[in-house]
């Protein structure tokens, strides 16, 4: 009998505010330890929090984007526990009255269908600092730069049934928050962190006991961690064991998981409303104002890309997933005029080059206008697709416009039929045996043999001969 996997996610999304959620200190990543921690972040005696309105705006934007219920009022609470990187001894978070209520996100499945994942709620809270265990023999260092960085924690219903669905959801969520501009989406720096709740059951049975695997910060680790944990739970049960409710960690390098703490060790966080902060009460009309500022969301953009540019749903999904990609794509299309070529170049050549150099699109050495220049020269026949790849490599390495590179390197396609004819004649004259073979061959064998001559001709023209013309002239001469 088969097993059904049940997955729910909790996602911490760092909001891209300039300053912290309750203090004026900067949120920029990568500064020297403790240089971006002010008196409030250090929890000096007597300090008080003041809520950053921008964090509220961003959380509400997310709520609007997922079509959530948004209550008029939300309340910050204190979540009490001791940890050295938690300076106040409590985290200011939300529990009973979160800023964003129930909503949903639709994901696309491999079979082309779509599935609705329900969001239970999303709440605002502050991030903790970091404990640094290296560099201090027998001691730990504390860096409070991150303490007080605004987060929204998004909690889904247990609506996902496989690692693929969970990853599809995570990618969609990434697309939404980056499109909204409320998160930089940089998972390697912890801007989005996933906690995965997993249980297995026989189809139709009640939910099994779940475990929570915490702090996964890449789509691949998340997928691996889910597969690992599902397998572990199934093996455990099939061997007569029982899943224990616990919090687990997954090591993406060794591909193994381990228990962090069991339910028995769970904290009593003693939540209560924070008396230093007033409830957040939305002014009438504020949500409408905010809704008017919503950018085109990934779902709508994907639909438009299919309709406007004639892309497949898959390609449209790829190109609309990230705001930066979508903008880049539309810029290329606007200046080169070929939506399909633009899509191919971005998803294949540009993506591969970025991947090789481990760069984000924003860091691409080839700007949208430059790529559009290459595509335009393919379209007007100045260069072949093959030469275009050469132009692209040169552009990636040394910069410059397509026209400059084509000019400097003499890569212009030869479309002068006289010049091509001359080369064809030379190749035919130099290869009498092959010509004979061709002419004596059966009709259906000939196209394959043609490749030899084309190759010789292209070689002689250094790849610049217009392939279409080469074919036409060659056929005429051989079949003569």
């Amino acid at each position: 009998m088969s097993w059904e996997t049940v997955i729910g996610l909790e996602i911490h999304v760092q909001l891209a505010t300039k300053s912290k959620i309750f203090s004026g200190a900067s949120t920029a990543f990568g500064a020297e330890p403790n240089t971006q921690a002010c008196a409030v972040d250090l929890a000096l005696p007597g300090t008080l929090p003041v809520l950053n309105a921008e964090a509220v705006r961003m959380a509400l934007l997310f709520g609007l984007a997922i079509d959530a219920e948004i209550p008029k009022r939300s309340v910050f609470e204190r979540k009490n526990y001791f940890y050295p990187d938690l300076p106040k001894g409590y985290q200011t978070s939300q529990l009973a009255e979160p800023i964003v209520g129930a909503g949903h996100i639709d994901i696309d499945l491999a079979d082309g269908s779509s599935k609705r994942i329900r969001i239970h709620h999303a709440h605002l809270e502050e991030d903790a600092g970091k404990s640094l265990h290296e560099d201090f023999a027998g001691q730990s260092g504390i860096d409070l730069n991150r303490a007080g960085t605004p987060l929204i924690e998004i909690v889904t219903e247990p609506d996902m049934r496989s690692a693929e669905e969970a990853v599809a959801f995570a990618k969609k969520l990434h697309a939404i928050v980056t499109t909204l501009g409320i998160c930089d989406g940089d998972m390697s720096q912890g801007s989005m962190r996933f906690d995965v709740n997993i249980s297995v059951r026989r189809p139709g049975e009640p939910l099994g006991t779940r475990t929570e695997t915490k702090n996964l910060n890449s789509f691949r680790f998340m997928e691996d961690a889910i597969r690992y944990e599902v397998e572990r739970q199934i093996e455990l049960i099939e061997d007569g064991g029982r899943v224990v409710q616990e919090t687990r960690l997954y090591n993406g390098e060794t591909k193994t998981g381990r228990s962090m703490r069991s339910k028995e060790d769970a904290h009593d966080y003693r939540y209560f409303p924070c008396p230093d902060l007033l409830p957040v009460v939305l002014e009438p009309g504020y949500l409408d104002q905010l809704r008017a500022t919503l950018p085109e969301l990934p779902d709508a953009k994907q639909k438009r890309f299919v309709e406007q540019y004639g892309l497949s749903a898959y390609d449209a999904g790829q190109l609309s997933a990230e705001r930066a990609t979508a903008e880049y794509y539309e810029q290329v299309v606007a200046s080169c005029g070929d939506a399909k070529l633009a899509a191919n170049w971005i998803m294949v050549d540009l993506a591969a080059a970025l991947n090789r150099s481990e760069l984000a699109l924003a860091q691409s050495p080839v700007a949208s206008s430059q790529l559009a220049g290459i595509i335009a020269r393919i379209k007007d026949g100045t260069i072949s697709s093959k030469i275009a790849k050469q132009v692209f490599e040169l552009m990636w390495k040394d910069g410059g416009t397509a026209d400059e590179i084509i000019e400097q390197k003499g890569l212009k396609q030869v479309s002068d039929s006289g010049a091509i004819e001359k080369i064809v004649d030379e190749v035919i004259a130099a290869n009498p045996q092959q010509v004979d073979n061709y002419r004596n061959a059966a009709e259906d064998k000939r196209p394959k043999m043609l490749g030899f001559f084309v190759g010789q001709i292209m070689k002689a023209s250094q790849g610049k001969a217009n392939p279409q013309q080469v074919n036409e002239i060659l056929l005429k001469k051989l079949e003569g």
Binding site: L42, L44, G46, L48, N80, Y90, R270, L278
Partner: protein, 487 residues
């Protein structure tokens, strides 16, 4: 004439008239502190050198013609207010080594107006106590009877004013910590409306109840000190954006027609009969001034102490979590590991009463008890507030005793926390409701002062000060000094 005979307002006027310099009056008080405070222990830290430098700066400012009314006037800060570069201990071993790197808003405002800080006053540890016996720095002695407590938690501020070691002082009140010590030391003190004075830089005990206010000998002095500290502060989300009136301007208004509510619940069992008599006499004095007494009921009064002793400990249990030995303050010797660091730093750094309240608060908030304690207490709090809202539909101010009896002997209530908590039975309700309350001297019992409590409506401090001032125009209880301190 001795400089310390002068009230704070008289001192300010004399400075304006150039009868003496700020340096002279500052030096005078510093000399008195050096000579007398060994007896009272009202200061934790005396900042003599800094005070004289500030006095010189104040004199220079006056010479340059841009002095504010209170420029050059000496005073003391309760050691709960963060003062840049000066130890801010909050009466606790936990912060004995803590030099604040920043100023509380109240401190910054006084600094800006050129008041001269003589030092930081003693207090119950983290403002938890009604006798000043919980201070790490030892108890403060009541200047009226050094065998008795000065009240708390602002006992140091009250005692230093009563002993004429400063003409005024700042204080804080979470459940009566300004009014009760003011009553027991025979001075005038006011706890403003919650949100009237910024809490930024004031070390939190119970955030929803804490409020700073002034102590001095007269209502006029208190009006001046309050005006200098009140106002909206963007750094405190719970401070309220309302104009600060000129509190001194309305002091002289007539009281004819004033309706004074007298809650019957404030004169029941538990009130010392002689204290009751002095308060009744004060009420009769108000009738002579043209006021009308109206008996009112605050039916949920008996629930104030129990509700308070859930809410205040709950908030303090979280507020005091930051004192963990990690970043500043007391750290135990040779911690073996993180848990040891936490446990011993807190066990050794905090005193018994603070630990008791942290435990009570953590318990009240814990899973399974939250609804029965914390949530219920918040519901009671709303009922208590509603009692006052109803009462203020009928009356202008409410009056009664500040505390059930005059100052008691050291150790008298030490073994019974609940007996100590009942010290604040008449003051706690106003904190729960967020209302302003003040205490002014209205008599002596066995040569120990009795306080009259005046409770006002929200932001009605000007009227309360007017009511207190008019009384002080026709009585002299506020002008009486403990034997021996005037020399």
């Amino acid at each position: 004439m001795n400089l310390h005979d002068l009230t704070l307002a008289q001192t300010a006027r004399a400075l304006a008239d150039k009868q003496f310099s700020s340096r002279e009056v500052t030096q005078h008080y510093l000399d008195r502190i050096a000579r007398l405070d060994k007896t009272y222990n009202s200061f934790i830290t005396v900042t003599a050198e800094q005070a004289l430098a500030e006095a010189d700066a104040a004199d220079a400012r006056r010479a340059a013609g841009n002095a504010a009314f209170l420029t050059g006037v000496p005073f003391a800060h309760k050691d709960i207010f963060c003062t840049q570069g000066v130890r801010t201990s909050c009466g606790s071993r936990m912060l004995d080594n803590f030099i604040s790197p920043y100023d509380a808003t109240v401190v910054a405002k006084y600094r800006e107006q050129g008041l001269v800080m003589l030092g930081k006053t003693n207090m119950d540890e983290f403002a938890m106590g009604s006798s000043n016996e919980t201070s790490w720095y030892g108890p403060v002695k009541n200047p009226w009877d050094t065998g008795c407590v000065p009240g708390g938690s602002s006992g140091g501020s009250a005692a230093c004013v009563a002993a004429r070691l400063a003409p005024g002082a700042t204080a804080t009140d979470t459940g009566g910590s300004i009014r009760q010590p003011a009553a027991l030391c025979g001075i005038t003190g006011l706890k403003p409306t919650y949100g009237r004075v910024s809490r930024w830089g004031m070390i939190a005990f119970a955030s929803s109840l804490d409020q700073a206010g002034p102590m001095a000998r007269t209502a006029e002095d208190v009006a001046l000190l309050l005006g200098a500290m009140a106002g909206f502060d963007p750094k405190d989300s719970t401070s309220l954006d309302r104009d600060v009136p000129d509190y001194a301007a309305a002091l002289g208004n007539e009281l004819a027609g004033l309706k004074i509510g007298v809650p019957k619940e404030y004169f029941g069992a538990g009130l010392n009969p002689q204290t009751a008599e002095r308060v009744q006499a004060a009420l009769r004095e108000y009738e002579k001034l043209g006021a009308r007494l109206v008996e009112i009921s605050l039916p949920h009064s008996h629930l104030a102490v129990p509700a308070y002793y859930v809410i205040a400990p709950a908030e303090c249990s979280a507020n005091l979590s930051r004192f963990d030995g990690v970043r500043y303050g007391y750290r135990c010797e040779n911690p073996q590991d993180l848990m040891d660091l936490y446990c011993r730093s807190r066990a050794e750094g905090f005193g018994e009463e603070v630990k008791r309240r942290i435990l009570v608060g953590a318990y009240a908030l814990s899973a399974g008890f939250y609804d029965a304690y914390y949530r219920k207490a918040q519901q009671v709090r709303r009922l208590i507030q509603q009692d006052f809202v109803e009462a203020f539909k009928e009356v202008d101010v409410i009056m009664g005793p500040t505390s059930p009896s005059p100052a008691f002997a050291f150790g008298a209530k030490g073994s019974d926390p609940v007996a100590m908590y009942l010290e604040d039975i008449y003051t706690i309700a106003t904190n729960l409701a967020g209302l302003p309350g003040m205490s002014l001297p209205c008599g002596l019992v066995d040569n120990k002062p009795v306080g009259l409590q005046v409770i006002g409506n929200y932001f009605d401090e000007a009227r309360m000060l007017n009511v207190a001032h008019r009384y002080q125009q026709v009585t002299d209880w506020h002008a009486q000094a403990p034997a021996g301190v005037m020399a």
